[in-house]
């Protein structure tokens, strides 16, 4: 798998993502710069976490207009695979590669804690390492992670199996109204969504921070194993 990681000014989880991709795929990803006007041949483009352009406008809004985003939109239109994590997810919604928006957390505070995620659709290159209904632990760290989407958009996401991950209890129970289980107040406890063709995925939590056994846990490994096995090049 040949992966590229996009660096915007203010991106800060590119090293975490590079380390996760290197550990799980055995090859280092290529770092891409926000001003690049062409993409190399890649199997996967990753938009990592951070505070692109300081998130001083809406989170991800400035980055969505970077030169490289034109290339990424074209890449996605050609059926390319794109993963956006945290600020990357925010950028993907701002760039309209994914539906919905990420609002300020319901409690109005930055939340950096572990959460549990339930895999809702295992038939994607991002999730095939899990079984449907599997629960895994992941760190989350964001101020604007409260996912929202129009009623019509929500019906489509749910109806078309495009909810990738939901916040849940350790036993898989989901309750959108319970802030201990759905910490940022996301609609239907949605933590990650997919594009219509299932090839663009965005999620708020950080599975890339749980792939290294030396750091104590490997709950995030199946996501990267899914990608590596699906995108053999």
């Amino acid at each position: 798998m040949k992966a590229g990681i996009v660096v915007f000014p203010g991106t800060n989880r590119e090293r975490d993502m590079a380390q996760a991709l290197r550990l799980t795929s055995g090859r280092p990803p290529q770092m891409l710069w926000h001003r690049d006007t062409s993409l190399p041949a890649l199997d996967l483009v990753v938009l990592p976490g951070g505070f692109s352009f300081g998130d001083y406008l809406r989170s991800g809004a400035m980055a969505a207009h970077s030169p490289i985003m034109r290339e990424i939109k074209a890449f996605a239109a050609r059926g390319g695979h794109v993963l956006g994590v945290c600020n990357g997810f925010q950028i993907l919604t701002e760039a309209q590669l994914l539906p919905g928006a990420l609002l300020r957390n319901a409690g109005m505070r930055f939340l950096a804690q572990d959460c549990f995620l339930k895999v809702e659709n295992e038939a994607t290159v991002f999730t095939s390492g899990w079984r449907k209904g599997a629960v895994f632990r992941s760190p989350m760290a964001h101020g604007d992670g409260n996912y929202t989407v129009s009623a019509e958009g929500l019906a489509r996401l749910e109806g078309e199996g495009r909810v990738a991950f939901r916040y849940c209890a350790v036993d898989g129970a989901v309750s959108a109204d319970d802030r201990t289980l759905n910490p940022n107040g996301s609609i239907n406890a949605i933590a990650g969504v997919l594009s219509e063709n299932g090839r663009v995925c965005g999620l708020m939590p950080h599975p890339e921070n749980l792939v290294d056994p030396d750091l104590g846990a490997t709950d995030g490994v199946p996501m990267f194993r899914s990608l590596v096995e699906s995108l053999v090049a």
């Binding site: 000014p9 975490d16 976490g49 505070f51 300081g54 109005m108 950096a112 804690q113």
Partner: protein, 733 residues
């Protein structure tokens, strides 16, 4: 106000009559306004350490692993593999009272710059926070702002906040302490220093533009607060973590080349202190042309530019032929880059603006003639040891009471606003081990990091309290399996012009020096914050508790060998160390018996070293499943913290015949003690006894209940509920 330069204006700038006379002698004429401004900040307590220098000389600062001790932007120690850890702690107390969010945020930003200025990528932040009584009006607002500010800056800049401490006491009502620590990693042969060299070399300004913010901030932090403190809000700077992030990346990119001769961040006293220190240390002269300084506001004067404390700015001396390559790097990161002067051979700082020479000062006297005071000291008699105290409420109630008190309650509400994982190297974050463990990228090696101080001990007996603060930092690092290497310190005190405060200061430095020597734990960097007092509306001036916050750094060769304190299933529990049963100055005494009295616990540095070395060796040999030192709250609180961390219970055996009375046994804040969970307690006891290390059996881990030999049982979930109730109740959501 009138800006005519005379003794009265000098006094308004914080200079004494004697100091102003010295300036007249150095200059041989009346200084210009800009010159007076430069003298006033360079000779402020904050920049000159004029009250503390004479004592700080007594701290041990050397060890074979120390590469740079105090005097540089941060301390540098060798951590193996050709790498160095660069670290320092610094206060932002006064700004955080006036404007909690920006005060705390810019405190984090400032300490980050001290570290990456030296060529190190910041890999961890910690912070030691002291707030007023939770019941006092205003405390909640300050806690909220400070925590948001630390998170807002650290999270955005992408440096994990991995540890620290939070205390409450009414003595901090009008003067909270915000001490921020940053740790970075650099190749040990690529450390950048601030001494300028090369006459004619360009002086380059990079980063944010200069505005009128923070003018005289260094002077403000060198005076007491009064009821008008809020009117000083304009002297608090505003932080921009996004620009800081760009500055980190751009500086580290430039540092990978050979362009930089010297570099210094613009911290307190901004352009003044950076240019004076760079040229002064290098023994050269410096000429600045302020017309070329990137400015955010129009019509700024030389005085304003020289004293501005606008954030996220650096000053560099470059090799001339590399200037354009350097400019390209900063332009790539959308940062201002301006040549604002050059080095000279005059030994003077010359500042011109609009063709007028606004300042022309000889550098040597500016540094060498800085005031140095041996202020009068009054050392209080240490309090008598506490005698027998009856137990008013029994063991179980007292435990629940203590777990829920502000000084012991879970800090999850705080940590959960700090990103502790970014960077992908955090092995142990907040609330899981006695010290945070951060892996060194590209290796299996880890840094163990902690901040420690028990201000109530230092108030009761500054000398003993300082020994305890250093010992506890050493112990917390040891309890993870790491080897303690060095400390940074942040010495927070009241008004040094009062003999009793200067007495506290001198005794603290003496106590620290003893502990640092005995534990081979030198001081490599630090910061002194004085005048932490508040004038109440009644006119009374209240001093803070003396707080020498210690930031400790250790190293462990393999992070997978490090242990946390979560209670494992199915283990033997032993206690390493001696129990004395002295409840003086304990949280039990304050929270349960309602008294703040007695002497703090005795710190036996020989026992400290012996017990710690034993525990560390056992951890590294793989014999330890979990380890937690005894500190605030004593033995039973430490046990409860282990249970809460993992959800596993334990069964305690009856204390040995020679133990203190039960409440003293369980709640005295014993020193040099560790609770160790091991597979085979008998085997560990044998090894300990052979080495003459005191050890005793405590019980067994397992189940989900804390049960005592006499039948008392408390479920771990009840302990957790008590522990987690305070912060959400205090702060809401």
């Amino acid at each position: 106000m009138s800006m005519t330069v005379d003794a009265a204006l000098a006094e308004r700038f914080g200079l004494t009559g004697g100091e102003y006379d010295k300036i007249l002698a150095v200059m041989g004429r009346t200084p210009t306004l800009t010159e007076l401004g430069i003298f006033s900040v360079m000779w402020s307590e904050h920049c000159s350490y004029k009250s503390s220098r004479i004592h700080l000389r007594n701290l041990p600062t050397k060890a074979p692993w120390v590469i740079h001790g105090p005097g540089e932007n941060a301390g540098v120690v060798d951590i193996g593999d050709g790498l160095a850890a660069v670290f320092k702690m610094e206060s932002h107390n006064h700004p955080s009272f006036i404007e909690p969010y920006q005060g705390a945020a810019t405190g984090v930003g400032g300490i980050l710059r001290d570290v990456f200025t030296m060529g190190a990528r910041p890999v961890a932040n910690l912070n030691a926070l002291r707030f007023g009584d939770p019941k006092a009006p205003g405390t909640r607002h300050i806690v909220d702002g400070v925590v948001r500010g630390i998170g807002g800056y650290g999270n955005c800049v992408g440096v994990p906040t991995v540890g620290g401490e939070v205390n409450f006491h009414k003595a901090f009502d009008g003067n909270p302490l915000v001490n921020a620590m940053t740790v970075g990693i650099a190749p040990k042969d690529r450390i950048f220093l601030s001494a300028a060299a090369g006459v004619g070399n360009p002086v380059v300004y990079v980063g944010s533009r200069t505005g009128r913010d923070g003018i005289h901030g260094a002077t403000m932090s060198s005076s007491e607060f009064d009821e008008q403190a809020a009117s000083k809000r304009p002297t608090v700077q505003v932080g921009d973590p996004f620009t800081e992030k760009l500055l980190i990346e751009a500086c580290l990119e430039l540092m990978a080349t050979d362009a930089i001769v010297a570099i210094q961040d613009m911290g307190a006293a901004g352009l003044t202190s950076s240019s004076v220190e760079m040229a002064g240390k290098g023994g050269v002269g410096i000429e600045l042309v302020l017309d070329d300084v990137p400015q955010r506001e129009t019509g700024m004067t030389a005085y304003e530019m020289m004293l501005s404390e606008s954030q996220e700015r650096m000053l560099m001396v470059l090799r001339p032929e590399r200037t354009e390559a350097a400019r390209a790097i900063f332009e790539k990161w959308d940062l201002d880059f301006a040549v604002i002067g050059h080095l000279t051979d005059t030994g003077r700082i010359t500042v011109t603006h609009k063709g007028v020479v606004e300042a022309d000062i000889p550098l040597a006297p500016l540094a060498d003639d800085a005031p140095l005071y041996d202020r009068p000291r009054l050392v209080a008699e240490p309090p008598a040891r506490l005698g027998w105290v009856p137990d008013p409420e029994g063991i179980g109630n007292a435990l629940l009471h203590l777990l829920a008190c502000p000084d012991l309650a879970s800090r999850a509400w705080v940590w959960n606003q700090y990103d502790s994982d970014v960077g992908g190297q955090t092995v142990r974050g907040p609330g899981t081990a006695d010290a945070a463990i951060v892996r060194v990228p590209g290796t299996r090696r880890g840094l163990a990091l902690t901040t420690d101080c028990t201000p109530r001990y230092c108030q009761a007996d500054p000398h003993a309290g300082a020994r305890q603060a250093v010992a506890e930092a050493w112990r917390n690092i040891t309890a993870t399996g790491a080897t303690p290497l060095a400390i940074t310190d942040n010495l927070n005190f009241g008004n040094p012009e009062k003999p009793e405060i200067m007495g506290q200061f001198a005794e603290v430095v003496k106590g620290m020096a003893e502990a640092c020597k005995a534990l081979d734990f030198p001081v490599v960097s630090g910061n002194v914050s004085l005048y932490n007092e508040t004038k109440l509306p009644s006119g009374l001036r209240v001093s803070i508790l003396p707080t020498p916050a210690i930031g400790g750094l250790g190293v462990i060769d393999d992070v997978t060998k490090a242990v946390g304190y979560g209670m494992p299933e199915d283990c033997d529990l032993v206690l390493v160390g001696e129990l004395r049963g002295d409840l003086g100055q304990s949280l039990w005494l304050r929270e349960v018996a309602g008294r703040e009295e007695g002497a703090p616990p005795i710190v036996d540095l020989v026992a400290e070293k012996r017990n710690g070395d034993f525990v560390r060796a056992q951890i590294l040999a793989g014999n330890v499943l979990a380890c937690h030192d005894l500190s605030d709250g004593g033995l039973l609180v430490a046990v409860a913290e282990m249970l809460i961390a993992s959800g596993v219970g334990c069964e305690l055996v009856q204390p040995r015949y020679d133990s203190p009375p039960y409440h003293a046994h369980y709640f005295a804040e014993e020193q040099a003690c560790y609770i160790v969970a091991t597979k085979d307690g008998a085997a560990m006891t044998e090894v300990a006894e052979a080495a003459h290390v005191p050890i005793r059996r405590l019980g067994r881990g397992g189940g989900d209940v804390l049960s005592f030999w006499g039948g008392l049982k408390i479920s771990v979930s009840r302990l957790r509920e008590a522990h987690e109730s305070f912060f959400p109740g205090f702060m809401g959501n």
